[in-house]
């Protein structure tokens, strides 16, 4: 019995971790290229989650179909945010960027509160309550679907950065800003694109999360913090690092919650962070910095 329960919890932790990883991936991509830490990351995700609710109640779309429109809207949001407000801050000191994004986050949280009210909202799909029974190990079906979708989106993103010209151009910007300028890349546009892509990741992650959880306007900061922990643990700016970090944190919280008291489970992810940082300041998958 115990082994089955532990196995079940571990699998559940990994699956959730994959979705969290996708969310963190957005943060990582943005930081890796634009060098701005998106302190409004979780808040952007709550926007995506509310979009899911709107689309769901208005059109009755399945979350997996909604992946596309929600990501598209978030892409536009990210693109515009970068264009309109973040761009002038690219070269400002960190605390100034922090301030800007905190202000953005305050507006987002309270805007959502105004529009959608304070109550938690969720969607119920045909598979919301399904689960698989694998020889006594019960696995949440929604989580499985969400995790698979998260993996697909992540792989698509990897291929985009590896294979397409735009992706390569963005990587060039990340590698050498001045070099990219010199060879005639429109860095501003590429930055906006990157921010858009990062936001789209968040959009996809938010859509997937709606399958397994609910949303309230106030939940944003918790997700921002979670994304930070994942990304720093995995390696800020490293794409595989975000996914690995997500899984690691998901697993840690699940097992920590099971073996110790669940109310302290987030403490374990912070413990992992505190352990990782001194010994690998660049994160588990991050490259050694100069």
């Amino acid at each position: 019995m115990t082994t089955e329960v532990v196995l079940k919890i571990a699998i559940s932790g990994v699956l959730t971790g994959l979705v969290y990883g996708l969310m963190a991936l957005g943060l990582s991509v943005i930081f890796g290229v634009v060098r701005v830490v998106n302190f409004a990351h979780g808040e952007m995700m709550t926007i995506a989650m509310y979009l899911v609710i709107v689309f769901f109640s208005a059109l009755g779309l399945d979350p997996f179909i909604m992946l596309v429109p929600v990501s598209a809207v978030l892409f536009a949001l990210g693109y515009l945010m970068q264009r309109a407000i973040i761009n002038p801050f690219i070269n400002r000191p960190e605390h100034s960027q922090f301030m800007l994004l905190v202000a953005v986050a305050i507006v987002m949280v309270n805007g959502l509160l105004l529009i959608f009210g304070p109550d938690s909202q969720g969607i119920t799909t045909s598979y919301s309550f399904d689960s698989f029974d694998l020889g006594g190990v019960i696995i949440d079906a929604g989580k499985v679907y969400a995790a698979i979708a998260a993996l697909i989106v992540a792989v698509a993103l990897f291929s985009f950065f590896r294979l397409t010209l735009t992706g390569k151009a963005i990587r060039a910007c990340a590698d050498n800003y001045n070099g990219a300028l010199v060879v005639g890349l429109d860095v501003k546009r590429l930055y906006s694109l990157t921010f858009g892509i990062g936001a789209a990741c968040v959009g996809a992650a938010g859509t997937m999360l709606m399958i397994v959880t609910d949303v309230t306007p106030a939940i944003g900061p918790a997700y921002t913090l979670l994304a930070f922990v994942i990304v720093i643990t995995g390696g800020l700016g490293s794409m595989p690092g975000a996914i690995v970090g997500g899984v690691l944190i998901g697993l840690t919280e699940a097992l920590g919650g099971f073996f110790f008291t669940p109310s302290a489970k987030t403490m374990f992810s912070f413990a992992i962070l505190v352990l990782v940082l001194p010994f690998r300041p660049q994160g588990i998958m991050g490259r050694k910095t100069a």
Partner: protein, 410 residues
């Protein structure tokens, strides 16, 4: 003036019976003689983390004016203050409302914010009626101007066990084991602290608690918690939770294919509208042991009707009841005090004796500490999207259903 305020008690109770029927008789003169409405500052966390509950309480405020008029009670001028779920803001708002002329304060749902407001009220000598806040220390400070018409955690627990014993006696079938899950916030901790002690005073409680699980109410994922609870194989699930976590836990129960024989919730969450709306038929079955209203009381029916009219689709709940009752206390005291002098108001509140109220129990009276110890808690159950009161028998309108219908058979 003095002679008129003496009429209050009897005329008042009679007035309720005659509400809306007998018009133009003596009580109206009292209102007009009393002049200006009492300025009441209502402090609620309407934005920030507790926005949901704060705004729900506000619904109770919204319907008050009409009801007070029907009760022939003096009008209240409501001054709203949003505490933003923040202790400092709560304190500053309280000061602000008093500076703006508030003669009485009501609020603030949360124990921390209520403590901060209580201090201000005490220092400024302005009466403060707490609507909801269960942490015992607030009324243990020897305050002169602070009153709480809400049961403390110990009271809620004692009534819960008593009602459970009664319920399981009627059903004839009781769970032998239970797992106790509680949210790790102010209310949850207060309940957890008292749980074992109070349970010991009720040896007839049919079940034994095999494990206690404390969890974070803001957690996004409660699958681990439920898996841990399921692993105990307990027959019943005893809960102290909030709304969001209640929904998450129910989903996990279904997904993890665990149908406890009974879900015994000793707090909010499982009876709230959002819960019922979100989960539909899966919301049926949980029993609640919480501060509630007595469905047979006249005023409860009136409040329910007023709420139904103002907010269709919203079931009346604890938030509305106790926020309304706090305002009721204010209006009643104002009427009896005959003036807005804070000292007189405080004395009038202390002498409160409202028999015809909404909540379950003998009515509203305050002891020397400013606590209403008479409040009793009911047991009620989700049944087909509605809430029915199942215990104690004297204040119920339905029979309990046990065991709960398994989730996969719905």
């Amino acid at each position: 003036m003095a002679s008129k305020s003496r009429i209050s008690r009897r005329t008042f109770t009679a007035g309720i019976g005659a509400a809306g029927i007998v018009a133009g008789t003596a009580p109206f003169n009292i209102i007009s003689a009393q002049g200006a409405p009492l300025k009441v500052g209502v402090l609620l966390p309407r934005s920030g983390a507790q926005a949901g509950i704060g705004q729900d309480c506000q619904r109770g405020v919204d319907v008050t004016a009409g009801l007070l008029k029907d009760l022939k009670l003096p009008a209240l001028q409501i001054m709203n203050g949003d505490t933003e779920t923040n202790v400092e803001v709560a304190r500053a708002r309280a000061e602000r409302l008093i500076s703006d002329g508030a003669q009485l304060l009501v609020g603030a749902f949360d124990s921390g914010q209520s403590t901060a407001i209580a201090q201000v009220a005490e220092q400024r000598g302005i009466p403060y009626v707490i609507n909801i806040a269960a942490a015992p220390p607030i009324t243990e400070q020897g305050y002169k101007f602070v009153f709480r018409n809400f049961p403390t955690a110990g009271r809620i627990l004692a009534d819960a066990f008593e009602n459970q014993i009664e319920i399981f006696k009627t059903t004839g079938n009781a769970p032998k084991t239970a797992v106790f899950m509680h949210v790790n916030d102010t209310f949850g901790t207060a309940m957890q602290k008292g749980f074992t002690g109070v349970m010991g005073k009720f040896p007839a409680t049919p079940y034994k608690v095999v494990e206690t699980i404390s969890y974070d109410g803001t957690a996004r994922d409660l699958s681990v918690e439920v898996a841990k609870a399921k692993a105990t194989n307990a027959e019943a699930l005893v809960m102290v939770s909030r709304l969001n976590d209640a929904i998450l836990i129910t989903r996990e129960l279904v997904k993890q294919r665990w149908s406890p024989k009974a879900i015994l919730s000793m707090g909010p969450g499982w009876y709230e509208d959002q819960y019922i709306k979100t989960l539909g038929k899966l919301s049926d079955g949980p029993m609640h042991f919480a501060p509630w209203y007595d469905p047979n009381k006249k005023l409860a029916k009136a409040l329910d009707a007023a709420l139904a009219k103002a907010h269709p689709g919203i079931n009346m709940n604890t938030n509305h009841v106790y926020t309304f009752e706090a305002l009721l206390v204010a209006a009643d005291a104002y009427k009896r005090a005959g003036s807005a002098d804070p000292k007189a108001l405080a004395d009038a509140i202390r002498a409160t004796n409202i028999k015809d109220n909404v909540s379950h129990g003998p009515g509203i009276q305050f002891d020397a500490k400013g606590q209403n110890e008479g409040l009793r808690n009911s047991a009620f159950q989700n049944r087909g999207g509605k809430l029915v009161t199942i215990a104690p028998a004297t204040a119920s309108n339905a029979k309990p259903e046990h065991p709960m219908k398994p989730y996969d058979k719905r």
